[in-house]
Amino acid sequence: MNIGDQVRQGAASGHVVGRWDWPGSLPQAGSSEVILDVHDLTIDFNSIDGRLRPLEKVSISVSNGEIVGVVGESGSGKSTLSLALLGLLDSPPAVYAGGSISFQGTDLLKGSMAAFSKVRGFKLGMVLQESIEALNPVYTIGFQMREALEVLAESTGRPIKREEIESECLRLLAELCIDNPELVLTKYPHELSGGMRKRVAIAMSVLERPQLLILDEPTTGLDAYVQNRILSLLKRMSEEYGLAMLIVTHDLVLASRICDRVYVMYAGRILESGLASQVLREPLHPYTRVLVSSVPEGFSDSPDLPVQTGEPADIRKLPRGCKFQERCPLVRERCRMEEPQLFLLPEGRTSRCWLMESGIRTYP
């Protein structure tokens, strides 16, 4: 019986042979140490339209073993945030205009951009939205995975044997429910389906045993079935290995299914945050309410969806005051004059809405 068969059998029976070990430095799942702490992060783009601000004082935190979601519509700044955290924004035009990104206690914005390259790909993993772009089209999957492991071995100074590399790749692919991993290793990226590519991209990103994984739209464009598989894999990795994740998505159903906490973004700002179960069930910001009520529910004879007119915010022409005012059903005079701060509310929730100024209130 070769290693591939062993692994497959193990995966099929639910017991993973030669369990995928993570280096000892990884903390136990459930310990609540903050691994990523972003404070007042502000990004500017110097574009021909003048100085734009896709992120304005964004503060988020992720603890070990936690799955945190960032949800919002297109143009809300979610992808800018994920790229900013990885130090992958093109500069120019992007400028870090303020704030701090503290990863495992080190501020990545102090000093040069080299701080990012030390952790990126090693301790800080990423899965980009377009998994086809994350893979090199002219090399086989196997070549790319081996290369990543060799780089890891070089950087840690721990030599790794050829057979070890081989079995490691196979084991990882089998963990991600890929049938016939030996065959997949010999394929080129274009020969795989979208769902398969996504899983290979996830496998590549966890190859280096990151402590935090940033995923940008991990299941967009995949059908419900494949989506389901990927979600349960991610959840399992977080539970078994205590891997922390930051998932950037526009899909509320996805966020409600997998995330522990969520941040809701609009026009480069956090508008609401809290436990996913609370935020998506009883939203405290009108914007979150709009999002949640837009998810179709019921049958063809159910009433039409309550729809707010208007398109997602355009950061080139943001209004004074609350940025959501134009689409807000509860807009008041004050919202047009002053922008609300992010009010701290009981149970660790926050909401950037004047209605919450004096604590949680039920909506009219």
Binding site: G14, S193, G194, A224, K235, R257, V295, S300, E311
Partner: protein, 342 residues
């Protein structure tokens, strides 16, 4: 509201042949059965939802209905007329009655035409006189809720939601009997998706039109359709009234899919298996939790309730609860005959 169906598909199969190498003329070709013996009908002013995962043949069906692919076997009847795919006139007849909105709003609009030209193009092709055309463009733009200023813009200047509105307007500029929507909202944000879904429901109420709504998103399908059919690798596995299908799914595949939209937290213990179709017998049998010896034979569509059909041997002995609509029971009987003769 019993009237003649708008569209009837009988034993529809679409097979793609792939050839490899320079000796491709000599070598036997590989076959991909994108659609395999599909039977259903769409009634007048009905919204029929078609679900299935990637590769199940949903888009192949959509494209066959506007004459972009030809059936390998089986019959497409549009308003009672059997379409001969070799006849230009028949294809024209098909396209005159079927409008289509494609999944990708960017790729399906000509980037060099202004929005009003995109919309009017089909009207010009149909030979509509200028005066009528202008009026019609105005009407349709109002119907789909497109802002006036968008008419002179190029498609790239519009937002995703607006592009889909343009696609709908273009599909309906010449009045149609059937509108085929191939994943119309899958690239849109939830709030914009809600706007487009409302628009489609509004169109359905205002125009006397039938809709074939194709989506992999069961929530959206449930919300939009009167009846739903489920495809698995080219085979229709279950077909029923929407409420029935979601409340009492019968085919093991449907049961699995419907359970996904109902469970909120996917349990970490269940690691889902790869869906690989079987080459022989029931295509779902390889991953089916309730497979038994008979599954090596291909199951016919069994009638298991009013308007409810499932292609699974589990329901062989089920007493069908009578009162079936004429057309469908005939179709299913035909499918049965065909399968037993195989």
């Amino acid at each position: 509201m019993e009237s003649a169906p708008i569209l009837e598909l009988t034993g529809l199969s679409v097979v793609f042949r792939t050839h490899r190498g320079i000796l491709r003329g000599l070598a036997p070709s590989d076959e991909v059965r994108a659609l395999d013996n599909v039977n259903f009908e769409i009634g007048s002013q009905e919204v029929f939802g078609l679900a299935g995962e990637t590769g199940s043949g949903k888009s192949t069906l959509a494209r066959t209905l506007v004459g972009l692919y030809s059936p390998t076997a089986g019959e497409v009847r549009m308003l009672g007329r059997t379409i001969d795919y070799r006849s230009r006139e028949d294809i024209r007849y098909l396209r005159k009655n079927v409008g289509i909105v494609f999944q990708d709003p960017v790729g399906s609009l000509n980037p060099r035409l202004r929005v009003k030209e995109v919309i009017a193009e089909a009207a010009i092709a149909s030979g509509m006189p200028l005066v009528e055309r202008k009026q019609r463009v105005e009407e349709i733009v109002q119907l789909v809720g497109l802002r006036e200023s968008a008419l002179d813009a190029f498609p790239r200047e519009l937002s995703g939601g607006e592009k889909q509105r343009v696609s709908v307007a273009r599909a309906l500029i010449v009045p149609k009997k059937l509108l085929v929507l191939d994943e119309p909202t899958s690239s849109l944000d939830v709030s914009v998706q809600a706007q487009v879904l409302n628009l489609l429901r509004d169109i359905r109420r205002k125009l006397e039109i039938s809709i074939l709504f194709i989506s992999h998103d069961l929530r959206v399908l449930k919300y939009m359709s009167d009846r739903v059919g489920l495809l698995f690798y080219g085979k229709l596995v279950e077909i029923a009234d929407t409420r029935r299908l979601f409340n009492e799914p019968r085919h093991p595949y449907t049961v699995e899919l419907v359970s996904h939209i109902n469970d909120s937290g996917s349990s970490s213990s269940s690691s889902p298996v790869e869906h690989k179709p079987s080459d022989t017998g029931c295509r779902y049998s390889q991953v089916c939790p309730s497979r038994f010896s008979r599954c090596s034979e291909e199951p016919p569509m069994y009638s298991i309730g009013p308007g409810h059909y499932a292609a699974c041997h589990l329901f062989e002995s089920e007493p069908s609860s009578g009162k079936l609509s004429g057309g469908l029971s005939q179709l299913s009987a035909m499918a049965d005959r065909e399968n037993t003769s195989n």
